[in-house]
Structures are given as C-alpha cells and as structure tokens.
C-alpha cells in the first residue's frame, strides 16, 4: 500500500514469511529485513540507518516466534519527499504488515514534530518547515498503550520541549490509528 500525507509518498511491499537463506535464518524467530530505496540515487548511509530504525521497530511488534526460520522482507520505495519522510515510511510499513496479515503484538504509527525557533510545535512539517525548525523529532507510537517504540531527534532541544512533543505526538497518534481503521474497513467491506 502507498501512504501519502500531503505530498510525501512512500510505496511499501511486504514479502513473507518466506523461505530464508541458511546464512540469514534464525532458529527461533522470523528474520526481518527492510530495504529503503530513495527516490534518486543509490541507497547510502542515511538509508541504512533508517532501515535499522524501521527494522527494529517492526521486530518489536511482529510475533516472529510464530514463524521460525523464515524471512520477512519489507521493501519501501520513496515516490516523493515533501517532509516527514521517516514517519511516512513507518506508517507505510505498518499498513503493509496489516495488509499481509502477519501476526502483530500491536500497531504502530509514525509522527513527526518540528520545534520552531520561537517554541511552537508543528505536527507533520513540510520540508521547508523542517529546515527552518530548531529541532525535528520523530516518534513511533504503539497502539496498545501509546508507549514510545522508536524515537529519533535531529537538532537539539530541552528536555521539557521533548516531553511536550511526545505528548502532542501521542494525541496525534489517535487520528492516525483511526485512519488505519477506516482504510482497512474500506478495503474489506466489498
């Protein structure tokens, strides 16, 4: 499924649980692999670090112990980038996991907030707003109890500001989970 908040668009494809290569298989759980392909150019160090973030977030929710010695591959292709790319990838990944019907412990959603130089918090910033901001924080929030699954920050901020952004993101997560429910309902209502 492709997720597009605003103009940022990411296409996600999930393959699995499938046969794993002997070098990659784990004896007690499924091996998760994430590939992030940028819109232009070859994947570089930035994509690798994002892949690691996505992979460990997905590993925390996917019940891998139900499918040992298999491989689950998630491929994300960036179609257009107009800000909030990482949270868009997170949302696309979760929807792909839902669509594939993999057993999950919880759903998660990605929320990005930008901290403006004057202290206001902006949700889902555009690329321009991200550049002007003092700090950009991205959180992955779990659906079960609104706990933080993944956190990344760019730029520096004070501790109180981070807590405020976290609270705002947790509230925003509700809207995104509602969107998940609506899309799944639409898909299966035919």
């Amino acid at each position: 499924p492709s997720v597009c908040p605003g103009d940022t668009s990411v296409l996600a494809g999930l393959y699995g649980p499938a046969e794993a290569k002997i070098s990659k298989e784990l004896p007690d759980r499924a091996a998760l692999e994430v590939l992030l392909r940028p819109k232009v150019g070859l994947p570089g160090v930035l994509e690798r670090s994002r892949e690691q973030l996505l992979r460990q977030t997905c590993e925390a929710v996917v019940l891998g112990v139900l499918h040992p010695r298999t491989a689950i591959s998630l491929v994300l292709q960036v179609l257009s980038d107009a800000g909030s790319l990482l949270s868009c990838c997170l949302n696309a990944a979760c929807m792909a996991l839902l669509d594939a019907g993999l057993p999950l412990a919880a759903l998660f959603c990605g929320v990005t907030c930008a901290l403006q130089p004057d202290g206001t918090i902006l949700l889902d910033p555009t690329a321009r707003q991200e550049q002007d901001a003092r700090a950009v924080l991205t959180f992955a929030i779990a659906s079960s109890d609104r706990k933080v699954l993944m956190a990344t920050t760019k730029g520096s901020c004070s501790v109180e500001e981070m807590q405020q952004c976290l609270a705002v993101s947790q509230r925003a997560a509700d809207t995104i989970f509602q969107f998940y429910r609506d899309s799944v309902r639409r898909r299966y209502s035919k």
Partner: protein, 273 residues
C-alpha cells in the same frame, strides 16, 4: 550461562545487580588516552576504553575547496569502522548495517550539537576550507559502541591542532605555517549514554555485548553541557513510557558531568608538553 543465558541474567536482575558485579545504574571504568601516545601521524587522536570496549579515533585535517552552495563552510566526515578483529559477528568486506548506522549517528550528533560549526573551518570564503576526516575504529567490541565512539571523537577533536593557513595575495596559493598551530574551536561537548531494556521493564546502563544480545531494546541519549538533548536514539525495541524516558534523560545528564570532568582532567595533564 551458555545454555540458558536469559534465565541466568534474570536471576541476577531480580537481585538488582549484574553478573560482572555492577549495579544496574553503574558504568564500567572508563580510561582515555589522548594525543601523541595514540596515533602519531594523525592531527588529533584519542583511545577510549569503556570496560573492554576499545575505540580509537584519529582526525586528519586536509584542505579542500568548499561546496558551491555553502562557500563559507568546511566539512567534517565521520566514519565508523567495525573491523572483523573486534568481534566474531563482523565479517570483512563492505561496511555492515551497524557500522553505517553508527556513522550516520555520529554525523547527526556533530550536526545536532553544533560541536564544531562548519563556518569555523573555512579559511577563505569560496576558495579554501578544512576537511576533517574522523576515523573511528573499534578495536574490541564489548557492547556500548555509540557511547565510546562519541567520547573518542570528542577527545580526539579536543586534541587537534590546525596549522595556520594564509592565502598569499599575489600568487593566490595557500601557505601552510606548520610552526604556528591553533586548537580547534569546540563549542559544545556532547556525551552519549546508552541503556538496554530488558523484558519491557528493566533499564540497565552501559550494556556489555552479552547484555545487548539479550536485551529487548536499546536507548541512547546524547546531552550537552547545558542539559539540552542533542539526540534521542531509540531504534525500535520494547515500548517505553514517557516517564521511563525521562528517567534515562536525568541519568544521562549526571553521566555527562562525570565524563566532562574526566576529559578536562586528561587534557590538563597533557598540555604542559
């Protein structure tokens, strides 16, 4: 310990301590070696030992023309390498995901904390600027790579002495004055603190390689001296409440003070050279 590692650890954690005798919130002994004793050919170097984890950082300064769109900025290029000699899980060949993610993390920390402002590295606007190649190599991997790398980078950068470079007005060529050296202007001192999450509840500080394998998640917090957060890095893993995260941050701030004292002590001891 080899057959049921998780059970072995759980028994210790129930008593609130760890197999190597540490408390849950205790760090391993940190030793730092700065300057000419580490790498003599580099412009700045440092060797950091966090328990058994050994990381060495060498900084080389070279001259280059700045980019067209940012004519008054120099470059800092960090590179983290995890050679196969440091742990059996790393194979030789192109850098694996962990090394690349670590390199990106270090680049982000430098950028976020504004440790070195790129404008300071510029010599002549649009013509000449410094490029700092920071190579961070892990010699022995026993967990907590990110903390040790950030510490080694900070120590090495404090040790760097840049020769004075002037541009000769008539010939347009640069003249390097090796006799006159100035230290780098370091504005902020970021320090990283890593925690491992066990079973969704317990948080332990400074995990060893064994603990990292058994942990269900990790959190790394980078703070600078004003108590500001330069980076919160939590790559997936078990969910944490906001309160737990706050707890980690307060501990990170305390750790920062200890590390800063250590660095200042070491630098003071080598300057009379």
């Amino acid at each position: 310990r080899t057959v049921e590692p998780l059970e072995y650890y759980r028994r210790f954690l129930k008593e609130n301590c760890r197999p190597d005798g540490r408390e849950l919130g205790e760090f391993r002994t940190t030793t730092v070696n700065i300057g000419k004793c580490s790498i003599t050919t580099a412009d700045g170097s440092a060797l950091v030992k966090l328990g058994n984890t050994t990381v060495i950082c060498g900084v080389k300064a070279e001259l280059a023309a700045p980019a067209v769109d940012s004519a008054n900025k120099g470059y800092i290029v960090p590179n983290v390498e995890l050679p196969s000699l440091c742990a059996e899980r790393f194979r030789s060949g192109p850098p694996g995901e962990e090394a690349q993610a670590a390199s990106q993390f270090i680049a982000d920390v430098i950028e976020n904390s504004q440790m070195i402002v790129k404008e300071d590295l510029c010599i002549a606007n649009g013509k000449l600027a410094w490029v700092l190649y920071c190579d961070i190599i892990c010699l022995d991997y026993d967990g907590n790579l990110l903390d040790a790398s950030v510490f080694a980078l900070l120590a090495a950068l404090k040790n760097v002495q840049l020769p004075l470079v002037t541009i000769n007005e008539e010939t347009g060529l640069s003249e390097v004055n090796l006799k006159q050296k100035n230290p780098l202007i370091i504005r902020k001192h970021p320090v990283a603190t890593s925690f491992a999450i066990f079973d969704d509840t317990l948080l332990i500080v400074d995990p060893t390689a064994e603990e990292e394998d058994l942990a269900t998640g990790t959190v790394t917090i980078v703070t600078d001296e004003d108590g500001k957060l330069c980076s919160v890095h939590k790559p997936g893993g078990s969910p944490l409440t906001g309160a737990k995260l706050q707890d980690c941050i307060t501990r990170a701030i305390t750790r920062h003070k200890e590390v800063k004292k250590l660095i200042d002590k070491v630098i003071k001891s080598i300057t009379p050279e």
